[in-house]
């Protein structure tokens, strides 16, 4: 469970996030939709403590993020961003094994999970495990980043426009792969930042629209297309 209580983030006198209150239940699949600068990325980054709120409080599992041991908390939260940001000096396998190693999993368990997950993402471990990130295409790198975020069965998965840098065909493919890889995880809460309506509706069950640091629409995904809010209309018609 993620709870925002009047969360504001102020940078250089501007409220990037303006007194946001929001509750996301365990297992929900939520999209943060908005134009660039609307505050959706900031809203994401306060969850794993990459940013601290200027005012208000954000709680994960009932306890404020500020009171968690951040490294421990972050090992339970998967994070994928627009750039794959793989560790360039580590192989695909070692990249994927990052969190299991931090959690001191037995090596066989790490290997078995990596194998299962990479197969699901169409990057068989036997073929790709020993390769270095520079040997992969952008789409392949992003799939490794997804595997790296999902491998330890995190309770929360945060995605910040993970497919925006990919070309449209690969993008649609990645959306389906991602949906399949996360679908069978009923206990995993997903928060997915995007500016793409179709992507939001494909992946999420609940859509939250940000504008100027505030939440302007919060609706089930299947009611989104008919939502009367003018910003929604503009998104739908675009």
């Amino acid at each position: 469970m993620i709870e925002y209580r009047n969360v504001s983030v102020i940078r250089g006198g501007n409220a990037i996030l303006d007194r946001v209150s929001l509750r996301i239940e365990r297992g929900e699949r939520v999209a943060f939709l908005g134009r660039s600068g609307a505050g959706k990325t900031t809203a994401l980054r306060v969850i794993n403590g990459l940013l601290a709120p200027s005012a208000g409080e954000i709680a994960v599992d009932g306890a404020p993020v500020a009171t968690h041991e951040l490294p421990q908390l972050r090992r339970r939260i998967g994070y994928v961003m627009q750039q794959p940001a793989l560790f360039p000096h580590r192989t695909v396998f070692d990249n994927v094994a990052t969190v299991p190693r931090l959690l001191e999993w037995p090596a066989e368990k790490t290997r078995a999970e990596a194998e299962r997950l990479l197969a699901q993402l169409d990057l068989p471990l036997a073929t790709f495990g020993a390769r270095f990130p520079r040997m992969l295409s952008g789409g392949q790198q992003q799939r490794v980043a997804i595997a790296r975020a999902l491998i330890a069965a995190p309770e929360i998965v945060l995605c910040d426009e993970p497919f925006s840098a990919l070309d449209p065909i690969i993008r649609a493919e990645m959306q389906s792969l991602f949906r399949d890889a996360t679908r069978d995880r009923a206990a995993t809460t997903l928060v997915f930042v995007t500016h793409d309506v179709r992507e939001a509706l494909r992946i999420a069950a609940r859509v939250i629209v940000f504008e100027a640091g505030r939440i302007v629409v919060d609706t089930p995904a299947d009611a989104f297309m008919n939502h009367p809010h003018p910003l929604v209309r503009r998104f739908v018609e675009a």
């Binding site: 490294p71 972050r74 961003m81 940001a85 270095f132 520079r134």
Partner: protein, 204 residues
């Protein structure tokens, strides 16, 4: 010939000891400079100033100092350490600054502690730059070490100074040519090491 071999050995020994000490001090200093910008900037300026002291003057300053100074190999090593420090501190700092901020953010978001981030990600990625600094430090130290003979530091400079005193060009060259060859060889070997690490971190 055995004289030449002994002096070459001495030369290599004082350079190796000095560069080893400079690495042991310089890499942590560079890391610290990266974490604490203001103090780091100060440390960098001090090593900068040290670097501008001409080497004969440096040896002169060291002679009256107790313990570290005086005459012999010890003050020679101290001087070489001081000269080697700047390139190593600076290259460590530059190497750490060049780490992609997204990579750093990914490591943090995965749940690495600051220490894990440093050892698992930042230092390995900075290694090619650090090796480049070590290479520059070593080549400089091999050159400066020839002057260390002036304060009894030993090494190939002994032949050069003896040759100058005796106006014996052959003797000067017996010291100067091996010293130059050492510098060239060290440069070539460490360039290879640098390429090896650059390749491993995925640059080429």
């Amino acid at each position: 010939m055995s004289d030449l071999a002994r002096l070459t050995g001495e030369h290599l020994l004082i350079v190796t000891i000095a560069v080893a000490i400079a690495i042991a001090a310089g890499v942590p200093l560079g890391t610290f400079a990266h974490r604490r910008r203001r103090l780091g900037g100060l440390a960098l300026r001090i090593t900068d100033v040290v670097q501008t002291i001409p080497s004969p003057a440096m040896f002169g300053f060291l002679i009256p100092l107790p313990f570290l100074g005086g005459i012999g190999p010890r003050p020679a090593i101290v001087a070489l350490v001081l000269y080697s420090l700047l390139p190593i501190v600076r290259s460590t700092l530059v190497g750490l600054e060049r780490v992609d901020p997204h990579v750093r953010e990914a490591a943090t978001a995965m749940g690495m502690t600051d220490r894990q981030l440093l050892w698992n990600i930042e230092l390995p990625l900075a290694t090619p730059a650090i090796v480049a600094g070590i290479r520059i430090a070593t080549v400089t130290a091999i050159g400066v070490a020839t002057i260390a003979a002036a304060i009894g530091g030993g090494g190939l400079g002994t032949l050069i100074f003896r040759g100058v005193a005796m106006v014996d060009t052959k003797l000067i060259l017996q010291g100067a040519v091996p010293a130059a060859l050492l510098a060239i060889a060290a440069d070539a070997v460490l360039t290879q090491v640098e390429h090896y690490f650059a390749k491993r971190r995925g640059e080429s």
